[in-house]
């Protein structure tokens, strides 16, 4: 112990160092580079040399209706998906939070959408949504409802994509809440039962307040991931029809890798970055507040 070597003395620096260097090189440097590019007019295909243009790219992008629509769409897609997932996920968790035969199997089933490849999921749902041969319209007509165009119409595309997101990610909320419920102490329940509280009172006065921090953290995590949704949107619609399902992520991808307008795409990325950063700060605040 007395003659500790170089490695042991500096272990708290040396152990994390490779990982930190990797993350700084692969993450921080690109983010700073993007920030730098957002103040330029760089276009990879035009051959015009890179030039500083100040806030010109920002003004260009911000005055573009396509950008503002994508921004709004990103938020409405996220709000729609996450709100349904939260309510439905909580309800499922409360239903499943008891002992019954086959509980393990049900939990396994709930896991499958979470680990399924999103691109393939999108393709399978495209088969469902197909206007002529798809099951979705067959279900509608069976119930005597008019057929829908689903992802083929600008009016329904966002709701249809949200439906896929809800299918895939509601189990996430359910599993998080179930794990939270399993960790609750039984004492408040016992005393409530002694005091003759009914099921609704127990739910609203005991379960909800105790599960709230877990639910909230799950919601924020889901929100951040929903804001970044890319795979299913790109695989199912490519942002179409027209631009009707183009979110910030998809738009930034097209600006970067289809139009090669690197300056303007950097501006979109900076905005996406700020939105996600704001929600990330929120999650850190929540973790501190609730000591998670």
């Amino acid at each position: 112990m007395t003659k500790s070597g170089f490695v042991e003395r500096n272990i708290r620096i040396l152990f994390p160092l490779p990982a930190v260097i990797f993350i700084l090189v692969m993450m921080l440097f690109p983010v700073l580079y993007t920030l730098f590019l957002s103040f330029t007019n760089w276009n990879l295909t035009s051959g015009v040399p890179l030039r500083f243009v100040g806030l010109k790219s920002y003004i260009r992008v911000l005055s573009e209706p396509r950008f503002l629509q994508a921004l709004g769409r990103t938020f409405s897609f996220t709000a729609l998906s996450v709100s349904v997932e939260t309510v439905l996920g909580l309800a499922l968790a409360l239903l499943l939070n008891r002992e019954f035969k086959g509980k393990g199997l049900v939990k396994l089933f709930l896991l499958l959408p979470l680990v399924a490849t999103p691109v393939a999921i999108g393709i399978v749902w495209n088969l469902f949504f197909d206007p002529t041969i798809g099951l979705a319209n067959w279900v509608l007509t069976t119930f005597g409802l008019p057929k829908s165009a689903w992802v083929a119409s600008p009016n329904t595309v966002i709701q249809s994509l949200a439906l896929v997101d809800i299918w895939q990610w509601t189990p996430m909320i359910t599993l998080i809440v179930l794990a939270g419920l399993a960790g609750l102490s039984p004492e408040p329940y016992e005393s409530a039962r002694v005091d003759g509280a009914n099921a609704f009172q127990i739910f609203s006065r005991i379960t909800m307040p105790m599960i709230m921090p877990t639910l909230l953290t799950g919601m924020i995590l889901r929100t951040i991931d929903a804001l970044k949704t890319y795979d299913i949107i790109f695989a199912m619609t490519g942002g179409g029809p027209g631009y009707a399902s183009e979110t910030l992520n998809v738009m930034a991808f097209k600006y970067s890798f289809e139009y090669f307008r690197m300056g303007q795409s950097s501006v979109i990325l900076v905005f996406l970055f700020l939105v996600v950063l704001a929600f990330s700060l929120l999650i850190m605040k929540a973790r501190k507040r609730f000591e998670l």
Binding site: P30, L111, L112, I123, F128, W167, P171
Partner: protein, 271 residues
């Protein structure tokens, strides 16, 4: 509840209402992958049909899916391996020395949108001549795997009592020796969790390879996506491709169910 048959039936019915919608897309995908084109485009949709293997044959012989399968495996396994190499010591350090700032850095890496790195990577990797190389793909997928490894392992190491390495150190082992020969051998479940999850997320990743890989290093999600745009109408083959890409992740999940649940939910639940 057990005493009341009406409530039991109701509960069973509600369970069905959950399980059927969750499983249905998988079942339909599997069924369609064995259908002929005639059966797929039939209206109303056909539940009973004669299964054929043609779609799988087509996907694996004509479309060279085996190659993309191998590419995805190479990228996933290597990225996870290097992430463990970098991530395990970092996670240990975060757990034992309470390095809060480091854990925030890891969380940020987990939350940031991948596309905000992808555009600069594209420029840098093209300059370095690393486009369509395994190196570029593996490095990018490490940014998926590493945060998962560190995140899961730092909480796991916290559950290991300090006495374990202290007693080894009293016996004269250095701290890094104790980490290697005492801590890691008892960390099996944590390592399995982080390996499984980070491999699945690397396997499923679409965006990075979409830009960084071309024909040589193309991974499965890109192959499946391209296949749809080329063969829009051949739904049977497309569904067979979808089954082939999902099978490994679903199988891993079935084998390591407990670990996967833990790994996915631990971010939001205390302890």
């Amino acid at each position: 509840m057990r005493k009341n048959p009406v409530r039991r039936v109701l509960f069973f019915f509600l369970l069905l209402c959950i399980v059927v919608p969750v499983l249905f897309p998988f079942v339909w995908m599997l069924a369609s992958s064995f259908k002929t084109q005639v059966d797929i485009v039939a209206w109303p949709p056909r539940l009973i049909f004669t299964p054929v293997a043609r779609n799988y044959l087509k996907v694996f012989t004509e479309q060279n899916f085996l190659k993309y399968f191998i590419n995805s495996t190479i990228v996933g396994v290597t990225a996870v391996g290097f992430s463990l190499l970098l991530g395990l010591p970092a996670a240990y350090s975060i757990a034992r020395f309470g390095q809060k700032k480091l854990s925030v850095l890891i969380l940020v890496a987990r939350l940031m949108p991948g596309i905000s790195f992808l555009m600069p990577w594209y420029i840098i990797f093209s300059r370095l001549g690393l486009m369509d190389s395994y190196v570029a793909l593996i490095l990018s997928h490490m940014l998926i795997a590493l945060p998962i490894v560190v995140w899961i392992m730092s909480s796991y190491f916290e559950t290991i009592p300090l006495e374990i390495e202290e007693s080894a150190m009293v016996d004269g082992a250095t701290r890094q020796r104790a980490f290697m020969s005492v801590i890691l051998p008892v960390s099996g479940p944590g390592i399995v969790t982080s390996m499984t999850l980070s491999f699945i997320f690397s396997w499923n990743n679409f965006m990075f390879a979409q830009v960084l890989s071309m024909e040589r290093t193309k991974t499965l999600p890109i192959a499946v996506y391209n296949f749809v745009s080329y063969a829009e109408v051949d739904w049977g083959a497309v569904m067979a491709a979808a089954v082939a890409i999902m099978a490994p992740a679903l199988l891993l999940t079935m084998i390591f169910q407990k670990y996967v649940v833990k790994g996915l939910t631990m971010g939001a639940v205390k302890g």
